[in-house]
C-alpha cells in the first residue's frame, strides 16, 4: 500500500504536471478501491478482478487510471464520455460497484480550506489535500451490467462487416436490415469522407533507418493537401 504522497508523485510523473485534478483523481481512486476492498496500487491478483469506468477525459481520469493500474488495452479501463467528474469501481469477484462523484461544492469551498493561498489554483491544490472525503466526494452503490464481451481476456467474437469487410471484435458490430456492419458503415462515425491514400516510404520497417521530419514534409503524396481537421 503506498501513501497518498507516493501515489500522487507517481501519477504526476506519468501525467506530466501537478494540477488540482491530479489530487482529486488520486484521492478518488483511493476511495473507490477502498470501497471495493482493494489496495492501491492494485496488486496483480486484484487488478485482474477490477474494472473502472471513467466518465471524463480530464487530468482526474489519468490519475484514476494510474493509481489503480487499469488500462484501456487490458479492458479494465472503460471510458464513457459523460463529461462528469466521476468513476465507478467494480469488484468482479463480489459484483459490488461504487460510483464516486467529485462534488462541485469542493471548488467553492477551496478558498475556505486554504485561505492562506493567494489564487484559485493554489487554493485548490492545497484544499483538495485537506478536505475530508465526505466533502470531496459523493458515493453511490450501483449495479453495472457487464456483458461477457466487455470483460478482460481473449477476443470472444469476430465478425466481418458485411459492407466493407473490416473485422469487428467483441460484439461491437451493428445489425441493420439483418446485416452485421461495423460502426462507421452503420453511420455516425466520428470521421467522415474517408479516402485511402498511399505515402512515401510505405515499406519502412522498425529496422530501417529513421525517417526525418524533412522527409515527411517532402512526401509527394502528403504535400499540398489541405488540412482536414475541422473543429465545430
Amino acid at each position: 500500500m503506498q501513501s497518498f504522497d507516493e501515489l500522487l508523485d507517481a501519477s504526476v510523473a506519468a501525467h506530466g504536471h501537478l494540477c488540482p485534478g491530479q489530487i482529486v483523481g488520486v484521492r478518488l481512486a483511493m476511495l473507490g478501491c477502498r470501497l471495493i476492498g482493494f489496495e492501491v496500487p492494485c496488486p496483480y491478483h486484484q487488478l485482474k478482478k477490477l474494472i473502472v469506468f471513467i466518465e471524463m477525459d480530464r487530468c482526474t481520469g489519468d490519475a484514476v487510471a494510474h493509481v489503480t493500474g487499469v488500462k484501456l488495452g487490458r479492458r479494465s479501463l472503460k471510458f464513457v464520455d459523460y463529461g462528469i467528474m466521476a468513476a465507478t469501481f467494480i469488484n468482479l469477484e463480489t459484483g459490488r460497484a461504487f460510483r464516486v462523484i467529485s462534488t462541485e461544492e469542493a471548488r467553492d469551498l477551496a478558498p475556505l480550506y486554504a485561505p492562506q493561498e493567494p489564487d484559485q489554483r493554489s487554493q485548490q491544490l492545497a484544499a483538495y489535500r485537506v478536505m475530508p472525503d465526505s466533502v470531496l466526494f459523493r458515493v453511490q452503490e450501483v449495479e453495472v451490467e457487464l456483458s461477457p464481451y466487455d470483460l478482460p481476456g481473449p477476443t470472444r467474437r469476430k465478425v466481418a462487416c458485411a459492407r466493407c469487410g473490416q473485422v469487428v471484435r467483441d460484439h461491437r458490430e451493428v445489425i441493420q436490415d439483418g446485416l452485421a456492419l461495423c460502426r462507421p458503415c452503420a453511420g455516425g462515425a466520428y470521421f467522415k469522407a474517408a479516402r485511402e491514400i498511399v505515402w512515401d516510404a510505405m515499406n519502412w520497417l522498425p529496422q530501417s533507418q529513421d525517417l526525418t521530419m524533412d522527409s515527411l514534409e517532402n512526401d509527394a503524396h502528403l504535400k499540398d493537401r489541405p488540412p482536414r481537421l475541422s473543429l465545430a
Binding site: 461544492e105 469551498l109 475556505l112 480550506y113 492562506q116 478536505m131 465526505s134 466533502v135
Partner: protein
C-alpha cells in the same frame, strides 16, 4: 412517502410535524406538536392557521423524518462545550453553550455542511465570547421527509473535525504588565494603561499578578519581562512604545528578552500596531496606545483567543482584516457589532 389528506379525513390521525402559529409581534411557536391526534375541536383552529390539508407520513426504509434528521445533525454539529436537547420544535434544534468560553466555529466545515442540499445550520460568529446556556447555533433539515443517506453525509461533514461548533473555556492566567514610557516612569504623567488592561484581563476571568514600569530603554524593558517570567506569569502585556518614533523601543526590548516568535502589526483599526510575541510558550501582547482612547481595539479581539489557548501568528493577525474596522460609534456596542466578525 407523504400523502395529503383533507382536514376532515385527518380526524383521528397523528400530526406528522409541528404546526406553527405566528401572531405578529406576540407569538411564534408550535400551535400543535408532532404526534398530536387530530380531533374535531382542532379543525377550526387549524383552518384559522390556513391548514385545509394535512400530511400523512408513511416512511420508506431509506427515509427519515425531519425530527430524527435534526437530532442526527445536531449530534454531529455539536463539539465540546455544546449542549442540545433532543426535542425538536418545528423541526429545529438549538445548540447552546454548555459552559462559559469562546465559541469556536469550524467555518469551512459549516460551509461544506450547508452546501449539502436540504440541511442548514446557522451560528454566531467564530470567536464570540459566550455564557453558559447561551444560544450559539441552530440546525434543521428542510423537508419533512428526506433520504437518510443525505442526512448521514451531512452529519459526516459536520463531524470532520469533531463538530462544527464548540466552546473553549478561557484559561485563568497570571498576567504580568509592563508599562513602558519615560513620561510615566519619571512621573511626568499618570499611567492609565495599568487600570485599563487590568480591567480587561479581570473581565475575562484572569488576574494581574505583577506590574512593572520601565523607561524607554530596551534593556530595562527586557529586564522587566524576565522578572515577570521568573515570578511565574504566564501571559505578558506590554503597553506603549509600539509606534514608529525613535523612543519606541519596546519591540527591541521584547527581542532582547528572548522572544522566540514575534508578529508586529494586526489588520485591525484601531490596533494596527498591535504585537504578538512568544517567549517559549508564554504569549506576550504589545498593546499600542490606541487602547487608552478606544473602548475596543485589536487587544479585545486577540486576548480572548489567547486565553482560550489559541496560538496567534501572522495569519491570524492578517485574517482579522475582514471586519477588523471599528465604526467608532458614538455609543460603543461592541461585541454586538461587526467589529472583529469577519
Amino acid at each position: 412517502m407523504i400523502k395529503t389528506i383533507s382536514l376532515e379525513e385527518a380526524v383521528g390521525t397523528q400530526l406528522a410535524h409541528d404546526i406553527t402559529e405566528i401572531r405578529p409581534g406576540e407569538f411564534k411557536g408550535p400551535a400543535f406538536r408532532k404526534g398530536h391526534t387530530v380531533c374535531d375541536e382542532d379543525l377550526c383552529r387549524l383552518q384559522r392557521l390556513g391548514k385545509n390539508h394535512l400530511y400523512l407520513i408513511d416512511l420508506e426504509a431509506d427515509e427519515i423524518h425531519e425530527n430524527e434528521a435534526a437530532a442526527l445533525l445536531a449530534g454531529a454539529l455539536a463539539g465540546a462545550g455544546i449542549a442540545w436537547e433532543n426535542n425538536p420544535r418545528e423541526g429545529k434544534i438549538n445548540l447552546c453553550a454548555a459552559w462559559d468560553g469562546l465559541l469556536q466555529v469550524d467555518v469551512q466545515a459549516l460551509s461544506a455542511f450547508n452546501l449539502v442540499d436540504e440541511v442548514m445550520c446557522a451560528t454566531l460568529h467564530n470567536h464570540t465570547l459566550v455564557k453558559q446556556g447561551e444560544l450559539v447555533g441552530g440546525t434543521r433539515a428542510l423537508p419533512l421527509v428526506m433520504k437518510r443517506v443525505a442526512i448521514q453525509r451531512a452529519a459526516a461533514i459536520a463531524s470532520q473535525n469533531g463538530g462544527v461548533v464548540s466552546v473553549k473555556p478561557l484559561q485563568k492566567t497570571r498576567a504580568g504588565l509592563v508599562i513602558t514610557g519615560n513620561e510615566v516612569y519619571h512621573g511626568l504623567i499618570q499611567d492609565r494603561f495599568a487600570p485599563t488592561l487590568t480591567g480587561k484581563i479581570e473581565a475575562l476571568g484572569s488576574e494581574v499578578a505583577a506590574l512593572e514600569f520601565a523607561p524607554d530603554d530596551a534593556e530595562a524593558i527586557a529586564r522587566a519581562i524576565r522578572a515577570h517570567l521568573q515570578r511565574g506569569c504566564n501571559l505578558l502585556l506590554l503597553s506603549g512604545g509600539m509606534s514608529v518614533d525613535p523612543d519606541d523601543v519596546t519591540r527591541h526590548g521584547i527581542r532582547l528578552a528572548g522572544a522566540t516568535e514575534m508578529h508586529y502589526g494586526a489588520a485591525v483599526l484601531p490596533g494596527a500596531m498591535f504585537l504578538v510575541a512568544y517567549l517559549g510558550k508564554v504569549p506576550l501582547l504589545g498593546v499600542p496606545a490606541c487602547a487608552l482612547h478606544h473602548r475596543s481595539t485589536a487587544l479585545d479581539l486577540v486576548l480572548p483567543r489567547i486565553l482560550a489557548g489559541e496560538h496567534i501568528g501572522k495569519s491570524e493577525l492578517a485574517f482579522l482584516g475582514h471586519g477588523g474596522l471599528c465604526r467608532d460609534c458614538p455609543e460603543c456596542l461592541y461585541p454586538n457589532c461587526s467589529f472583529g466578525k469577519g
